[in-house]
Protein backbone atom coordinates (compact mmCIF):
# COMPACT_ATOMS: atom_id res chain seq x y z
CA UNK A 1 0.00 0.00 0.00
CA UNK A 2 1.06 3.57 -0.56
CA UNK A 3 1.38 4.61 3.05
CA UNK A 4 4.56 4.69 5.10
CA UNK A 5 3.93 8.20 6.43
CA UNK A 6 3.41 9.80 3.02
CA UNK A 7 0.12 11.62 2.78
CA UNK A 8 -2.01 10.74 -0.21
CA UNK A 9 -2.86 14.39 -0.74
CA UNK A 10 -0.15 16.98 -1.26
CA UNK A 11 0.45 20.55 -2.30
CA UNK A 12 3.19 21.83 -4.53
CA UNK A 13 4.36 25.34 -5.35
CA UNK A 14 5.85 24.27 -8.67
CA UNK A 15 4.64 22.34 -11.72
CA UNK A 16 3.19 18.93 -10.88
CA UNK A 17 5.55 16.13 -11.92
CA UNK A 18 2.95 13.72 -13.28
CA UNK A 19 5.49 11.11 -14.30
CA UNK A 20 6.93 10.86 -10.78
CA UNK A 21 3.41 10.83 -9.31
CA UNK A 22 2.34 8.06 -11.69
CA UNK A 23 5.34 5.95 -10.68
CA UNK A 24 4.14 6.05 -7.06
CA UNK A 25 1.03 4.17 -8.15
CA UNK A 26 2.80 1.32 -9.97
CA UNK A 27 1.85 -2.11 -8.72
CA UNK A 28 2.42 -5.44 -10.39
CA UNK A 29 -1.12 -6.41 -9.35
CA UNK A 30 -2.66 -3.40 -11.13
CA UNK A 31 -4.08 -3.85 -14.61
CA UNK A 32 -4.63 -0.19 -15.28
CA UNK A 33 -4.31 3.41 -14.20
CA UNK A 34 -6.57 6.44 -14.58
CA UNK A 35 -5.54 10.05 -14.04
CA UNK A 36 -7.32 13.38 -14.13
CA UNK A 37 -5.67 16.72 -14.77
CA UNK A 38 -7.41 20.01 -14.01
CA UNK A 39 -6.12 22.87 -16.24
CA UNK A 40 -6.40 26.62 -16.06
CA UNK A 41 -8.96 27.73 -18.65
CA UNK A 42 -9.17 31.13 -20.32
CA UNK A 43 -12.82 31.86 -19.59
CA UNK A 44 -15.35 31.46 -16.82
CA UNK A 45 -18.94 32.60 -16.62
CA UNK A 46 -18.64 34.93 -19.57
CA UNK A 47 -15.43 36.58 -18.45
CA UNK A 48 -11.99 36.21 -19.99
CA UNK A 49 -9.62 34.76 -17.40
CA UNK A 50 -5.93 35.68 -17.66
CA UNK A 51 -4.45 33.97 -14.61
CA UNK A 52 -5.28 32.36 -11.26
CA UNK A 53 -4.05 32.28 -7.70
CA UNK A 54 -4.63 29.32 -5.41
CA UNK A 55 -4.45 29.66 -1.64
CA UNK A 56 -4.91 26.85 0.89
CA UNK A 57 -5.30 26.33 4.62
CA UNK A 58 -2.57 23.76 4.25
CA UNK A 59 -2.75 22.05 7.65
CA UNK A 60 -6.44 21.21 7.34
CA UNK A 61 -6.41 20.80 3.55
CA UNK A 62 -3.82 18.03 3.72
CA UNK A 63 -5.77 16.36 6.51
CA UNK A 64 -9.08 16.56 4.63
CA UNK A 65 -7.53 15.63 1.28
CA UNK A 66 -5.91 12.60 2.85
CA UNK A 67 -9.27 11.60 4.34
CA UNK A 68 -10.87 11.84 0.87
CA UNK A 69 -8.27 9.56 -0.70
CA UNK A 70 -8.60 7.16 2.25
CA UNK A 71 -12.39 7.21 1.68
CA UNK A 72 -11.84 6.33 -1.98
CA UNK A 73 -9.55 3.43 -1.07
CA UNK A 74 -12.26 2.10 1.26
CA UNK A 75 -15.15 2.56 -1.17
CA UNK A 76 -13.53 1.23 -4.33
CA UNK A 77 -11.37 -1.88 -4.74
CA UNK A 78 -8.36 0.02 -6.10
CA UNK A 79 -4.64 -0.42 -5.46
CA UNK A 80 -3.31 3.09 -4.92
CA UNK A 81 -4.51 6.67 -5.21
CA UNK A 82 -2.86 10.07 -4.97
CA UNK A 83 -3.89 13.70 -5.42
CA UNK A 84 -1.55 16.68 -5.89
CA UNK A 85 -2.77 20.29 -5.93
CA UNK A 86 -0.97 23.47 -6.89
CA UNK A 87 -0.87 26.60 -4.74
CA UNK A 88 0.37 30.04 -5.73
CA UNK A 89 0.15 31.85 -9.10
CA UNK A 90 -0.85 29.88 -12.21
CA UNK A 91 -1.10 30.85 -15.85
CA UNK A 92 -3.46 29.66 -18.55
CA UNK A 93 -2.83 25.98 -19.51
CA UNK A 94 -1.04 25.26 -16.22
CA UNK A 95 -2.09 22.14 -14.37
CA UNK A 96 -3.93 23.01 -11.14
CA UNK A 97 -4.63 19.53 -9.85
CA UNK A 98 -3.72 15.92 -10.63
CA UNK A 99 -5.44 12.75 -9.43
CA UNK A 100 -4.15 9.26 -10.17
CA UNK A 101 -5.55 5.83 -9.32
CA UNK A 102 -4.25 2.35 -10.10
CA UNK A 103 -6.49 -0.71 -9.85
CA UNK A 104 -6.88 -4.31 -10.94
CA UNK A 105 -9.60 -3.29 -13.42
CA UNK A 106 -10.33 0.02 -15.17
CA UNK A 107 -13.89 0.49 -13.90
CA UNK A 108 -12.93 1.01 -10.28
CA UNK A 109 -10.03 3.23 -11.29
CA UNK A 110 -12.37 5.57 -13.22
CA UNK A 111 -14.90 5.60 -10.36
CA UNK A 112 -12.33 6.30 -7.64
CA UNK A 113 -10.64 9.04 -9.69
CA UNK A 114 -13.98 10.79 -10.30
CA UNK A 115 -14.90 10.43 -6.62
CA UNK A 116 -11.63 12.00 -5.46
CA UNK A 117 -11.72 15.05 -7.73
CA UNK A 118 -15.40 15.70 -6.94
CA UNK A 119 -14.84 15.48 -3.18
CA UNK A 120 -11.68 17.60 -3.29
CA UNK A 121 -13.60 20.40 -5.02
CA UNK A 122 -16.27 20.39 -2.34
CA UNK A 123 -14.43 19.65 0.87
CA UNK A 124 -10.80 20.77 0.84
CA UNK A 125 -10.07 24.33 2.07
CA UNK A 126 -8.50 25.69 -1.12
CA UNK A 127 -9.49 29.02 -2.64
CA UNK A 128 -9.10 30.31 -6.18
CA UNK A 129 -8.82 33.93 -7.19
CA UNK A 130 -9.47 34.63 -10.85
CA UNK A 131 -7.95 37.60 -12.65
CA UNK A 132 -9.93 38.81 -15.66
CA UNK A 133 -9.04 40.54 -18.91
CA UNK A 134 -11.17 43.54 -17.85
CA UNK A 135 -8.90 44.14 -14.85
CA UNK A 136 -11.31 42.73 -12.28
CA UNK A 137 -10.58 39.83 -10.02
CA UNK A 138 -12.62 37.71 -7.67
CA UNK A 139 -12.60 34.75 -5.30
CA UNK A 140 -14.54 31.98 -6.97
CA UNK A 141 -17.72 30.97 -5.07
CA UNK A 142 -17.23 33.81 -2.59
CA UNK A 143 -17.97 37.11 -4.26
CA UNK A 144 -20.19 37.06 -7.31
CA UNK A 145 -21.88 34.05 -5.75
CA UNK A 146 -22.00 35.42 -2.22
CA UNK A 147 -25.69 36.23 -2.28
CA UNK A 148 -26.80 33.20 -4.29
CA UNK A 149 -27.43 29.77 -2.82
CA UNK A 150 -24.98 27.15 -4.05
CA UNK A 151 -26.26 24.67 -6.59
CA UNK A 152 -23.31 22.84 -7.93
CA UNK A 153 -23.36 21.08 -11.24
CA UNK A 154 -20.60 18.68 -12.01
CA UNK A 155 -18.94 19.34 -15.29
CA UNK A 156 -15.75 17.75 -14.10
CA UNK A 157 -13.28 20.42 -15.11
CA UNK A 158 -11.27 23.08 -13.38
CA UNK A 159 -13.86 25.80 -13.33
CA UNK A 160 -16.85 23.89 -12.19
CA UNK A 161 -18.54 25.82 -9.40
CA UNK A 162 -21.75 27.41 -8.30
CA UNK A 163 -23.99 28.55 -11.10
CA UNK A 164 -24.87 32.22 -11.12
CA UNK A 165 -27.94 33.43 -12.97
CA UNK A 166 -26.53 36.86 -13.71
CA UNK A 167 -23.27 38.57 -12.94
CA UNK A 168 -23.56 41.14 -10.23
CA UNK A 169 -20.73 43.36 -11.32
Amino acid sequence: MLTGGLTRFRFTQSAIDTEAARRELLDSGAGGYVSFEGWVRDHNEGLEVTRLEYEAFVELAVKEGDRIVADALRRFPVKHALCIHRVGALDLRDMAVWVGVSAVHRGEAFDACRFIIDEVKHRVPIWKKEHYRNGDSGWVNCERCAAAPRHDHDDGDVHHHAAVPALQK
Partner: protein
Protein backbone atom coordinates in the same frame (compact mmCIF):
# COMPACT_ATOMS: atom_id res chain seq x y z
CA UNK B 1 1.36 41.93 54.00
CA UNK B 2 4.09 41.50 51.39
CA UNK B 3 6.73 43.66 53.03
CA UNK B 4 10.12 43.77 51.38
CA UNK B 5 11.82 41.63 54.07
CA UNK B 6 9.40 38.76 53.60
CA UNK B 7 10.67 35.49 52.19
CA UNK B 8 9.97 34.98 48.48
CA UNK B 9 7.05 32.68 47.80
CA UNK B 10 7.62 29.64 45.59
CA UNK B 11 4.88 27.32 44.41
CA UNK B 12 4.58 23.65 45.33
CA UNK B 13 2.03 21.47 43.59
CA UNK B 14 1.41 18.31 45.59
CA UNK B 15 1.21 15.37 43.22
CA UNK B 16 2.36 12.49 45.40
CA UNK B 17 -1.04 11.20 46.44
CA UNK B 18 -2.27 7.72 45.68
CA UNK B 19 -5.72 8.81 44.35
CA UNK B 20 -7.32 5.80 46.05
CA UNK B 21 -10.93 6.93 45.81
CA UNK B 22 -10.58 8.23 42.26
CA UNK B 23 -8.93 4.98 41.17
CA UNK B 24 -7.05 7.08 38.61
CA UNK B 25 -4.12 9.45 39.01
CA UNK B 26 -5.73 12.76 40.02
CA UNK B 27 -2.77 14.75 38.71
CA UNK B 28 -3.40 13.34 35.22
CA UNK B 29 -7.16 13.98 35.13
CA UNK B 30 -7.93 16.32 32.27
CA UNK B 31 -10.01 19.48 32.45
CA UNK B 32 -10.56 21.80 29.48
CA UNK B 33 -7.92 19.97 27.50
CA UNK B 34 -5.11 19.93 30.07
CA UNK B 35 -4.06 17.69 32.94
CA UNK B 36 -4.91 19.11 36.35
CA UNK B 37 -1.21 19.07 37.21
CA UNK B 38 -0.42 21.27 34.19
CA UNK B 39 -3.35 23.59 35.01
CA UNK B 40 -2.21 23.98 38.61
CA UNK B 41 1.39 24.50 37.50
CA UNK B 42 0.42 27.19 34.97
CA UNK B 43 -1.84 28.92 37.49
CA UNK B 44 0.91 29.02 40.12
CA UNK B 45 3.48 30.14 37.54
CA UNK B 46 1.40 33.23 36.78
CA UNK B 47 1.87 34.42 40.36
CA UNK B 48 5.14 32.95 41.59
CA UNK B 49 8.75 33.14 40.37
CA UNK B 50 9.48 29.43 40.80
CA UNK B 51 7.12 26.47 40.92
CA UNK B 52 7.88 22.84 41.70
CA UNK B 53 5.94 19.61 41.73
CA UNK B 54 6.18 17.50 44.88
CA UNK B 55 6.54 13.77 44.22
CA UNK B 56 7.43 10.59 46.02
CA UNK B 57 10.76 9.00 45.04
CA UNK B 58 9.10 6.43 42.81
CA UNK B 59 7.18 9.04 40.77
CA UNK B 60 10.04 11.17 39.45
CA UNK B 61 10.01 9.50 36.01
CA UNK B 62 6.22 9.59 35.54
CA UNK B 63 5.56 11.46 32.28
CA UNK B 64 2.78 13.67 33.72
CA UNK B 65 5.20 14.87 36.41
CA UNK B 66 8.67 14.61 34.86
CA UNK B 67 8.16 17.60 32.53
CA UNK B 68 8.07 19.96 35.53
CA UNK B 69 10.78 20.87 38.07
CA UNK B 70 10.41 18.33 40.87
CA UNK B 71 11.04 18.22 44.57
CA UNK B 72 11.33 14.59 45.55
CA UNK B 73 10.41 13.65 49.12
CA UNK B 74 13.57 13.83 51.22
CA UNK B 75 12.23 13.31 54.74
CA UNK B 76 10.73 10.18 56.26
CA UNK B 77 7.04 9.58 56.62
CA UNK B 78 3.93 9.67 54.48
CA UNK B 79 1.37 12.13 53.22
CA UNK B 80 1.43 15.80 52.26
CA UNK B 81 3.38 16.83 55.36
CA UNK B 82 6.40 15.06 53.85
CA UNK B 83 6.11 17.03 50.61
CA UNK B 84 5.78 20.34 52.45
CA UNK B 85 8.76 19.59 54.71
CA UNK B 86 10.88 18.45 51.73
CA UNK B 87 10.24 21.76 49.96
CA UNK B 88 11.06 23.79 53.08
CA UNK B 89 14.27 21.75 53.40
CA UNK B 90 15.22 22.24 49.73
CA UNK B 91 14.91 26.06 49.87
CA UNK B 92 15.10 27.04 53.55
CA UNK B 93 14.76 30.76 52.87
CA UNK B 94 11.61 30.51 50.77
CA UNK B 95 7.98 30.44 51.76
CA UNK B 96 5.81 27.96 49.88
CA UNK B 97 2.38 28.39 48.39
CA UNK B 98 1.31 24.77 48.60
CA UNK B 99 -1.49 23.59 46.31
CA UNK B 100 -3.07 20.17 46.08
CA UNK B 101 -3.57 19.01 42.53
CA UNK B 102 -7.20 18.08 42.96
CA UNK B 103 -8.60 21.62 43.07
CA UNK B 104 -9.95 22.23 39.56
CA UNK B 105 -11.86 25.38 40.59
CA UNK B 106 -8.84 27.12 42.08
CA UNK B 107 -8.54 30.47 40.33
CA UNK B 108 -6.03 33.25 39.87
CA UNK B 109 -8.25 35.37 42.14
CA UNK B 110 -8.03 32.79 44.93
CA UNK B 111 -4.22 32.69 44.76
CA UNK B 112 -4.07 36.50 44.67
CA UNK B 113 -6.22 36.71 47.78
CA UNK B 114 -3.97 34.26 49.62
CA UNK B 115 -0.84 36.22 48.65
CA UNK B 116 -2.48 39.55 49.50
CA UNK B 117 -3.57 38.41 52.98
CA UNK B 118 -0.36 36.50 53.73
CA UNK B 119 0.90 36.75 57.32
CA UNK B 120 4.68 36.68 57.06
CA UNK B 121 5.11 36.76 60.84
CA UNK B 122 3.23 33.52 61.49
CA UNK B 123 3.90 29.96 60.37
CA UNK B 124 1.27 29.84 57.68
CA UNK B 125 -1.65 31.55 55.94
CA UNK B 126 -4.51 29.25 55.01
CA UNK B 127 -8.09 29.40 53.83
CA UNK B 128 -10.80 28.42 56.26
CA UNK B 129 -12.97 25.70 54.75
CA UNK B 130 -16.49 26.84 53.92
CA UNK B 131 -17.64 23.30 54.76
CA UNK B 132 -16.26 22.70 58.26
CA UNK B 133 -14.54 25.94 59.29
CA UNK B 134 -11.18 24.17 59.62
CA UNK B 135 -7.95 25.30 57.94
CA UNK B 136 -7.18 24.06 54.43
CA UNK B 137 -3.48 23.14 54.60
CA UNK B 138 -3.26 22.20 50.93
CA UNK B 139 -4.02 25.63 49.57
CA UNK B 140 -1.90 27.66 51.97
CA UNK B 141 1.33 29.61 52.28
CA UNK B 142 3.88 27.98 54.55
CA UNK B 143 6.56 30.31 55.91
CA UNK B 144 10.22 29.26 56.38
CA UNK B 145 9.66 29.24 60.18
CA UNK B 146 7.21 26.35 59.75
CA UNK B 147 10.06 23.97 58.88
CA UNK B 148 11.28 23.46 62.43
CA UNK B 149 7.76 23.38 63.89
CA UNK B 150 6.63 20.75 61.38
CA UNK B 151 9.70 18.63 62.11
CA UNK B 152 8.98 18.78 65.83
CA UNK B 153 5.31 17.97 65.22
CA UNK B 154 6.23 14.90 63.16
CA UNK B 155 8.75 13.76 65.77
CA UNK B 156 5.99 13.66 68.37
CA UNK B 157 3.94 11.39 66.13
CA UNK B 158 1.92 14.00 64.25
CA UNK B 159 1.24 13.56 60.54
CA UNK B 160 -1.77 15.74 59.72
CA UNK B 161 -1.01 19.24 58.40
CA UNK B 162 -4.57 20.35 59.19
CA UNK B 163 -4.21 19.44 62.86
CA UNK B 164 -0.86 21.16 62.83
CA UNK B 165 -2.44 24.38 61.54
CA UNK B 166 -5.27 24.18 64.11
CA UNK B 167 -2.69 24.17 66.91
CA UNK B 168 -0.29 26.66 65.35
CA UNK B 169 0.00 30.36 64.77
CA UNK B 170 -1.66 30.25 61.37
CA UNK B 171 -3.73 33.03 59.89
CA UNK B 172 -7.04 31.76 58.56
CA UNK B 173 -8.79 33.73 55.83
CA UNK B 174 -12.26 33.45 54.31
CA UNK B 175 -12.25 32.65 50.57
CA UNK B 176 -13.95 35.24 48.36
CA UNK B 177 -14.96 32.41 46.04
CA UNK B 178 -16.55 29.67 48.18
CA UNK B 179 -16.12 27.06 45.46
CA UNK B 180 -12.41 27.72 44.85
CA UNK B 181 -11.32 24.95 47.22
CA UNK B 182 -13.82 22.26 46.26
CA UNK B 183 -11.72 19.20 45.69
CA UNK B 184 -12.42 16.26 43.47
CA UNK B 185 -11.96 12.81 44.96
CA UNK B 186 -14.33 10.47 43.15
CA UNK B 187 -15.28 9.78 39.53
CA UNK B 188 -18.70 11.36 40.25
CA UNK B 189 -17.11 14.56 41.55
CA UNK B 190 -14.83 14.61 38.50
CA UNK B 191 -17.84 14.40 36.16
CA UNK B 192 -19.60 17.22 38.05
CA UNK B 193 -16.50 19.41 37.95
CA UNK B 194 -16.09 18.86 34.20
CA UNK B 195 -19.71 19.84 33.57
CA UNK B 196 -19.36 22.94 35.76
CA UNK B 197 -16.03 24.15 34.31
CA UNK B 198 -16.94 24.19 30.60
CA UNK B 199 -19.47 27.05 30.79
CA UNK B 200 -17.27 29.03 33.21
CA UNK B 201 -14.31 28.77 30.86
CA UNK B 202 -16.41 29.55 27.78
CA UNK B 203 -17.82 32.80 29.22
CA UNK B 204 -14.44 34.11 30.35
CA UNK B 205 -12.48 36.59 28.32
CA UNK B 206 -9.82 34.53 26.63
CA UNK B 207 -7.07 34.89 24.10
CA UNK B 208 -7.85 33.41 20.69
CA UNK B 209 -5.77 33.19 17.54
CA UNK B 210 -7.69 33.77 14.33
CA UNK B 211 -6.41 33.02 10.82
CA UNK B 212 -7.97 34.37 7.67
CA UNK B 213 -7.81 33.09 4.11
CA UNK B 214 -8.81 34.30 0.66
CA UNK B 215 -11.70 36.79 0.59
CA UNK B 216 -11.83 36.99 4.38
CA UNK B 217 -8.10 37.68 4.58
CA UNK B 218 -8.56 40.61 2.18
CA UNK B 219 -11.61 41.93 4.05
CA UNK B 220 -9.91 41.66 7.46
CA UNK B 221 -6.76 43.23 6.01
CA UNK B 222 -4.57 40.63 7.70
CA UNK B 223 -3.87 36.93 7.59
CA UNK B 224 -4.02 36.43 11.34
CA UNK B 225 -4.62 38.16 14.62
CA UNK B 226 -4.56 37.34 18.30
CA UNK B 227 -7.31 38.91 20.35
CA UNK B 228 -9.09 38.75 23.68
CA UNK B 229 -12.70 37.79 23.26
CA UNK B 230 -15.53 36.69 25.48
CA UNK B 231 -17.18 34.86 22.57
CA UNK B 232 -18.38 31.56 23.99
CA UNK B 233 -18.56 29.79 20.62
CA UNK B 234 -17.23 30.19 17.06
CA UNK B 235 -20.68 31.47 16.13
CA UNK B 236 -20.41 34.35 18.64
CA UNK B 237 -16.87 35.01 17.44
CA UNK B 238 -17.98 35.20 13.79
CA UNK B 239 -20.61 37.79 14.70
CA UNK B 240 -18.06 39.80 16.68
CA UNK B 241 -15.50 39.76 13.86
CA UNK B 242 -18.08 40.45 11.16
CA UNK B 243 -18.99 43.62 13.06
CA UNK B 244 -15.33 44.57 13.23
CA UNK B 245 -14.11 43.62 9.74
CA UNK B 246 -17.29 43.85 7.65
CA UNK B 247 -17.27 40.31 6.28
CA UNK B 248 -19.77 39.99 3.45
CA UNK B 249 -20.27 36.24 3.75
CA UNK B 250 -23.10 35.18 6.00
CA UNK B 251 -22.35 32.57 8.61
CA UNK B 252 -24.23 29.83 6.78
CA UNK B 253 -21.84 30.19 3.82
CA UNK B 254 -18.79 29.74 6.00
CA UNK B 255 -17.35 26.76 7.84
CA UNK B 256 -15.12 26.92 10.88
CA UNK B 257 -12.08 25.00 12.06
CA UNK B 258 -10.76 25.01 15.63
CA UNK B 259 -7.26 23.77 16.43
CA UNK B 260 -6.68 22.31 12.99
CA UNK B 261 -9.90 20.48 12.23
CA UNK B 262 -13.48 21.26 11.26
CA UNK B 263 -15.66 22.19 14.20
CA UNK B 264 -19.24 22.72 15.16
CA UNK B 265 -20.31 26.38 15.39
CA UNK B 266 -21.53 25.78 18.96
CA UNK B 267 -18.39 24.21 20.40
CA UNK B 268 -17.27 26.04 23.57
CA UNK B 269 -14.13 28.08 22.87
CA UNK B 270 -11.20 27.88 25.28
CA UNK B 271 -8.24 30.13 25.92
CA UNK B 272 -5.55 29.55 23.33
CA UNK B 273 -7.85 28.06 20.68
CA UNK B 274 -6.82 28.66 17.07
CA UNK B 275 -9.86 29.51 14.96
CA UNK B 276 -10.00 29.55 11.16
CA UNK B 277 -13.05 30.65 9.21
CA UNK B 278 -13.40 28.85 5.90
CA UNK B 279 -15.17 30.72 3.09
CA UNK B 280 -16.69 28.66 0.26
CA UNK B 281 -13.92 26.51 -1.21
CA UNK B 282 -12.91 26.30 -4.86
CA UNK B 283 -10.19 23.70 -5.27
CA UNK B 284 -9.64 21.72 -8.44
Amino acid sequence: MNDSDAAPVYGLILAGGSSTRMQRDKAALRYLGKSQLDRAFELASRHLPRVFVSVRAGQAADPTRAQHPLIVDSVAGEGPIVGIRSALAAFPTAAWLVMACDLPFLSAAALSQLLRERDTAGLATAYRSVHDGLPEPLCAIWEPAAAAALAAYQETGGSCPRKFLIRSAARLIEPDDPRALDNVNTPEEYAEALAALEPIAAAECKQLKIQYYALMREQAGRSEETLDSSAATPSDLYDELTARHGFTLSRNQVKVAVNGDFSDWSRPLRAGDAVVFIPPVAGG
